[in-house]
């Protein structure tokens, strides 16, 4: 029991809770717009950013953030020209990000086991400085999302009508992808770049099974994300050997399965309130 409250575990809880709570809030807008895979694309691009940070002697987190932000601009450019509708463009972005990262790291002689932490998370090695960095980024993302909530929702519901009504659709789209880039950088330590997008999607999917409004789905998704991280971390600490990034994502999948079952039961009792 004492291990569950050890200093290094408490730091993991704090950093993980910040990401688990924030990721579904941003992810709700991506899922609503069927852009769930964009988070994956940015995670892959951020790998190249980590490598760039290592090569240049800068912080991997800021390297990941810089390249993910540049990727956000690029992906929004593709999306707004209608070239992101198919999956080929996004797939190419995935591959280029991973390939560029591997080339840069191997060229710098840093292609070693520490990469596993970047790809699959290394939350138990977070320092208090990391906790401050991660929670600060998450607080920034949450504040920006709350401030622009109504505009982001109007665009997510119906981009054409939002544009016809005078909303600044392109700046709002860029803002959303910028927030995803921040989230990817913050979540890198928690579940790793290959799994960070899962926290943008799976808790949101769970929340959508229980709610009848966007706000309800968003709040339920945030609760599911927070629960996923805490349950996953406790499981990893308790067992002692397994990777926490994986347990967090598996916990979120279990919560999704439970939410789906509850949602189906509610739909049978009240047919009108069926699954979305």
């Amino acid at each position: 029991m004492s291990r569950l409250l050890a200093d290094w575990v408490v730091r993991a809880y704090l950093a993980g809770a910040a990401v688990g709570l924030t990721a579904p809030v941003v992810g709700s807008f991506l899922v609503q717009r069927r852009l769930a895979l964009i988070g994956d694309g940015m995670g892959h691009l951020a790998f190249a950013g980590v490598a760039l940070g290592v090569v240049l002697g800068a912080s991997p987190l800021w390297g990941a953030l810089a390249v993910a932000a540049a990727g956000a601009l690029f992906l929004e450019g593709l999306r707004s020209r209608g070239r992101l509708a198919g999956d080929v463009s996004l797939a190419i972005v995935f591959y280029v990000g991973i390939a560029l990262g591997s080339v840069l790291l191997s060229g710098a002689g840093r292609f070693d086991a520490s990469l596993l932490g970047v790809l699959f998370g290394s939350i138990f090695t977070t320092t208090w400085a990391d906790v401050v960095e991660i929670t600060g980024l998450c607080a920034l993302v949450l504040a920006a999302t709350v401030a622009s909530y109504r505009g982001l929702l109007a665009v997510a519901l119906d981009e054409e009508t939002a544009r016809a009504s005078g909303l600044p659709v392109e700046p709002l789209n860029l803002l959303l992808l910028g927030l995803v880039a921040l989230l990817v950088a913050a979540g890198m330590r928690v579940v790793g770049l290959l799994l960070v997008a899962s926290l943008l999607v799976i808790p949101v999917a769970a929340g959508s099974r229980l709610a009848h409004s966007f706000r309800g789905a968003l709040l339920a998704g945030a609760a599911a994300g927070l629960s996923s991280v805490l349950v996953g971390l406790v499981a990893a600490v308790w067992q002692g050997e397994i990777a926490p990034g994986g347990t967090v994502v598996l916990a979120s999948s279990a919560i999704f399965a439970a939410a789906s079952a509850v949602g189906r039961r509610a739909a049978r009792r009240h047919p009108r309130r069926g699954l979305p």
Binding site: R150, G151, D158, E160, T161, V204, R215, G216, P276
Partner: protein, 241 residues
């Protein structure tokens, strides 16, 4: 000053001309139905009105300005054709209608006192108050259409541009929708309704316009049906002003 003004507007999708020299001027309080066959350019004309499309020749002015001006667009209630909302997550009817107020409050603006009442009134106008808390995607197509119409009506915009607003709505509710639009026009709003069949509105609208071979012509209700049967407008055609 006309609220909506087209002067010599031409528009084509690729090599296919849709509008060819359209002149149109609608003032405050005008209520017109834009009718015609599929592909005649009705929805295109509506999108030109609000600046979603740009004319390849001629000019379009909305409230005296470029329709792409956000300040102008915020004074318009627009409802595109069909049930086009993103459907991945549940969205309540109230959330959909309240989204119509966001342009006025700004993308970073908060709700103000009275917004809830504006949403309630818009829902009442389309007889949807009782379903305000329901998830939109659990409703029938006609109920969803009424919610989309309420989103365009909320906040009493000066211009209403509605593309097939009664599609899927029960026959007995259509007169209520038509009467509501008449009431808006009487209060000074300019109302343009695109419809395959103007029967829903012929008792309340001022004019029926038909797009024929790229031009807008005014017809009577009887002439419209003659147009449908014979494939061309009857007498009374001419530039719509």
């Amino acid at each position: 000053m006309p609220v909506i003004e087209f002067a010599g507007v031409r528009f084509a999708y690729g090599a296919v001309p849709v509008l060819d020299g359209v002149d149109l001027a609608l003032g405050p309080g005008a209520f017109v139905v834009l009718a015609g066959a599929n592909g005649s350019g009705k929805s295109t004309l509506l999108k030109l009105c609000v600046g979603l499309l740009r004319p390849q020749a001629g000019t379009v002015r909305l409230l005296g300005r470029d329709p792409r001006d956000p300040e102008v667009r915020r004074r318009v209630g627009y409802a595109p054709q069909g049930l086009h909302l993103a459907t991945s997550l549940p969205v309540s009817v109230t959330e959909v209608v309240a989204a119509g107020l966001v342009p006025r409050r700004g993308p970073f603006g908060w709700s103000v006192r009275g917004d809830r009442e504006l949403v309630r009134r818009a829902l009442a106008a389309v007889a949807l108050e009782e379903l305000s808390a329901e998830c939109l995607f659990e409703l029938s197509g006609g109920q969803q259409q009424r919610a989309i119409l309420a989103r365009a009506l909320v906040g009493d915009p000066e211009v209403l541009l509605l593309d097939e607003p009664t599609t899927g709505i029960d026959q007995q509710l259509r007169p209520q929708v038509a009467a509501e639009l008449r009431r808006r026009a009487d209060a000074g709003a300019t109302v343009v309704v695109v419809s395959h069949d103007p029967d829903d509105f012929h008792d309340v609208c001022d004019r029926i316009l038909v797009i024929d071979r790229g031009r807008v012509r005014q017809v009577t209700h009887a002439e419209f049906h003659l147009h449908v049967e014979l494939g061309r407008p009857g007498p009374g055609g001419g530039v719509a002003t």
